[in-house]
Amino acid sequence: MPTVDLADTPLRDLNAALHRLTPDSNETHWRVLNPRGRHSVAAGIDAPVAVEIAGHVGYYCAGMNKQASVVVHGNAGQGLAENMMSGQVRVKGDASQAAGATGCGGLLVIDGNASARCGISMKGIDIVVQGSVGHLSAFMAQAGNLVVLGDAGEALGDSIYEAHLYVRGTVSSLGADCVEKPLQEHHRAELRKLLEAAGVNGADLAEFRRYGSARRLYHFHVDNLGSY
């Protein structure tokens, strides 16, 4: 198992080594020590490997991730797993703003809280937050799922398109065009699958409420014809 200590290895060397990995690499389990809040740790991986990071990371950790499974044993700064394509990213602590922003695929799990704008402009990523999320989460969310086991801050799902939002706790307020929707059996199945994938056990599905787009904002309405 390669172990890279960022106390004596430049971060660019670590990321370059991770970028060189091929699908048939035997170096499938990496350990990164002393991240000390550095930015862009393990960003841009495109290989089916596991990377464990021992400590807090700065901005854009595991950004653009493809295939890899990245675990942060600490907190993460802004833009965690930004624009992730596939694979899995898990943070054992909290994540700062814009976690999972513009993510196109894969699963992002935050064991603690995520702050503002979690899942902003998400495009297919699944995000499971075991704690709470801050304001403007899922802003302009287009596709994918955001599951929050705690509470959601103000303006959840503002200007949302077609993403599915599931929140177990309270929602401070809903953003423009975001409404509560009935949680039907196929939604329960979807939620169960997401929680299982995230390794979350014992959550009562009946406690969740579903939110989504009222589709009044982004669909043309014939009554507005006179405005054009």
Binding site: H56, G58, S96, A116
Partner: protein, 298 residues
């Protein structure tokens, strides 16, 4: 960009090393603000009946001559310490007004800080070099705040460097930009406040001073700032007793806090905190928007 830091020591045994810890924090944030840097250190109390003035002079200034001239105004030589371009002097409170009046007549000097405990140092240049010039790593104190500046709203000058002070033992550092500072400045001037620059952050400092002068606690003043100031901000506000932190309601600017039994620290990024003793076991969190956080000793 800009970077701000704050450190409040709970454990008095750390006090001799306050400056060294603060210098490390500032140095890490050079890349967030390479234009200028400044810091406030709350050190030993001035003796009873006296006050500390931190004076900035232009490079090459005749400090010996200045101190002689001020000594004549004070009626006795003034204890003072020269740190690069700055002079920290202890003045009899009864003669402070006369000394200020004399200083106002001397070109090439400006008072950058005043109070019983606070000393302020700021200059243009890379923050780690600025800190080294002033010998920050050898300063002791109970708490301190600092700033690395990437200028956006006004020029790269020492006058535009943070911290801004508008009252005794009070100062403020700011990451962000305010949009209604001209209107707020006009209002504060009507209340008798005066300002030395066109800088938006000085207005925030003046607002805090005005509120606290009117009797508000630091917490009440921060809450009032939420209603009065429009724009992007993370503020760290220093007082003789401690410091407060406030982020704007949409949390435009980053902020991280950490706390152990021995200290509380604020940093724009976690990177700034990584060399603090015991940080591995610290509680680390992101302060909530529109929520004042305070650490004060009473």
């Amino acid at each position: 960009m800009c970077g701000i830091v704050g450190l409040f020591l709970k454990d008095p045994r750390l006090e001799p090393g306050l400056g060294a810890l603060l210098a490390g924090m500032l140095g890490t944030l050079c890349d967030r603000g390479p234009d200028s840097a400044g810091f406030a250190v709350y050190g030993r109390d001035a003796p009873a009946g006296s006050a500390k003035l931190t004076l900035r002079t232009v490079p090459g200034f005749d400090v010996a001559g200045l101190m002689e001239r001020l000594g004549r105004v004070a009626g006795a030589p003034l204890p003072h310490q020269v740190r690069d371009t700055h002079v920290v002097m202890t003045v009899p409170a009864a003669r402070e007004a006369a000394i200020r009046a004399e200083l106002a007549r001397i070109p090439g000097t400006s008072i950058v800080g005043a109070g019983r405990r606070m000393e302020i140092f700021k200059e243009v240049g890379r923050p780690d070099r600025v800190a080294a010039r002033f010998g920050l790593e050898r300063m002791a104190g109970t708490h301190g705040i600092g700033h690395t500046r990437m200028a956006t709203e006004s020029a790269v000058t020492t006058d535009g460097a943070h911290p801004f002070t508008t009252g005794p033992d009070q100062c403020l550092v700011h990451n962000g930009s305010l949009s209604n500072h001209n209107a707020v400045r006009r209002e504060l001037v009507r209340h008798g406040m005066s300002f030395q620059t066109e800088n938006d952050s000085e207005v925030a400092a003046g607002f805090m001073t005005w509120k606290m002068r009117e009797g508000a606690s630091l917490e009440a003043a921060l809450n009032a700032a939420l209603a009065a100031l429009d724009g992007f901000y993370t503020f760290v506000v220093g007082t003789a007793a401690g410091f407060g932190v406030l982020r704007d309601p949409i949390a435009c600017k980053p902020a991280v806090m950490a706390e152990t039994d021995r200290w509380v620290a604020f940093g724009t990024e976690y990177r700034a905190l990584v060399d603090l003793p015991g940080v591995g076991n610290a509680k680390v969190w992101e302060p909530e928007p529109a929520t004042p956080y305070l650490w004060e000793r009473h």
